[in-house]
Point group: C2
């Protein structure tokens, strides 16, 4: 089999124009790779991203360029398989960028396929420093793997070879540390709003909580009533949440989870 | 009643030598206030902090100086009332520093009493920039309130007058955004460890998640399967947690809470 090469003049098509596609395609551009075409079901989204990338665009699947070297599928997880079936590609390198989708969904289309998964939370309104974003790559063959590692390193200092099973676990962990964490922020926000207090009061605490685990193991950084097994405060705070039954149940449940996880760890250490 | 004054030469006694006492007493020092004495039940802790502060110390309650102008009780919540009863102070300003304890527990001892609550998570091994920490003050009378606001502003740019009920809510919110968030980090750590993956993979995501809400409302920053109502992934990730029954229950529960909070908000907006 011929060695796979990805070069800055390779012809690249982006499938998708959402948050991830917007940030990732610009990282490609910054790393020296040109984008030939953007496809999105929504014509205005395709057009908007194409303008940034100085590329062509389309919202018609049959107009996707057939002679590209690389197709980057940057869509939400559930949209990936349907679009690949619609595309019916025969050549080129087929890449997806999703955490929880196995690489295997790409096989039986093109000879080379892989995953290029940047582990970050993207919003259109926020710029991110791609050089610090972990990029997790997986490939159908060692030749493509080398090519993806090389391409990744042009965008980020942190490129890892991660298989599908590990990536799935990584994505699940990301749901906890990002999505669930953000929900904790939302609850804090709601509780303060209810007493006429400004969310600014919590912002330094939120940042410090994140900074702490830059160096420490999170278990060692744990503070609060649950880790001190301070039943008196836990009871009082539970009662305080009587008008928020959902938050109250969550309070009880997470406190319990903190106690159990730390007891389990202590028993292991013995 | 005479106006209350707190001056840099006021005689200040710190009751407690834990994380909070260690950071707060040094913030006093940095702001120009000398600490006369440190009390801790644990002699070595008292000695260690006294060395930093260049103060006297004791581990015997009867040796606590009786003629101080200010007593700062920097102990865990449940230790506050017992120690005040042991101290039996008659004069001086009595302050506590706890989120979930009402100011009223201090009344009937000294004529002036109040709360000086810095909202942050403290660990002995980490320096914090006190100038960015919100300090919440409450006082028995307007004269002490002014004095506490003035003193607070020598330490931090963010000093707020917060009553006991608000402070309780603030502390509860802090449990969600700090303690519970850190537990989410711990779960991420455990899940990665199990697949031989390094927690470093998650650190940029953790920081970005916190940075995002520096400007945005957390509800607007929410991403992930639950907010997209992506039942397919939610089911898969739940199944993935089959060997972690506690995390699985938590996954289901927090995902459900995200859906409900956002549905409630959307209905409000209609």
């Amino acid at each position: 089999m011929q060695a796979v090469k990805i070069e800055t003049h390779s012809k690249i098509v982006f499938i998708g124009a959402g948050n991830l596609a917007t940030h990732l395609s610009q990282a490609f551009l910054k790393a020296g790779y040109g984008i030939s075409q953007v496809y999105s079901r929504t014509n205005s989204s395709a057009q908007q991203l194409a303008r940034i990338l100085n590329s062509r665009y389309t919202s018609r699947i049959e107009e996707v360029e057939r002679d590209a070297d690389i197709y980057v599928i940057a869509l939400s997880d559930k949209a990936i398989v349907p679009i690949i079936n619609e595309l019916q590609l025969k050549s080129g390198i087929l890449l997806h960028t999703a955490g929880s989708i196995s690489m295997d969904v790409l096989k039986s289309y093109t000879p080379h396929y892989g995953v290029f998964y940047p582990l970050q939370t993207f919003s259109k309104e926020r710029d991110v420093d791609f050089s610090q974003i972990p990029i997790c790559v997986e490939a159908s063959d060692s030749s493509l793997l080398d090519a993806l590692l090389y391409m990744g390193r042009r965008m980020s200092e942190k490129v890892y070879e991660i298989n599908s099973e590990q990536r799935k676990q990584l994505h699940l962990s990301a749901v906890f540390v990002c999505n669930f964490t953000n929900h904790m922020y939302s609850i804090g926000y709601e509780l303060l709003k209810n007493k006429g207090l400004d969310f600014d009061l919590l912002r330094p605490l939120i940042l410090e909580t994140a900074f702490k685990v830059k160096e420490m193991e999170p278990m060692r950084a744990q503070t609060g009533p649950a880790i001190r097994f301070d039943k008196q405060i836990i009871k009082k705070q539970e009662a305080q949440l009587q008008y928020y039954p959902m938050f109250q149940k969550l309070y009880r449940f997470v406190s319990d989870s903190i106690c159990r996880l730390h007891s389990a760890r202590e028993n292991e250490d013995k």
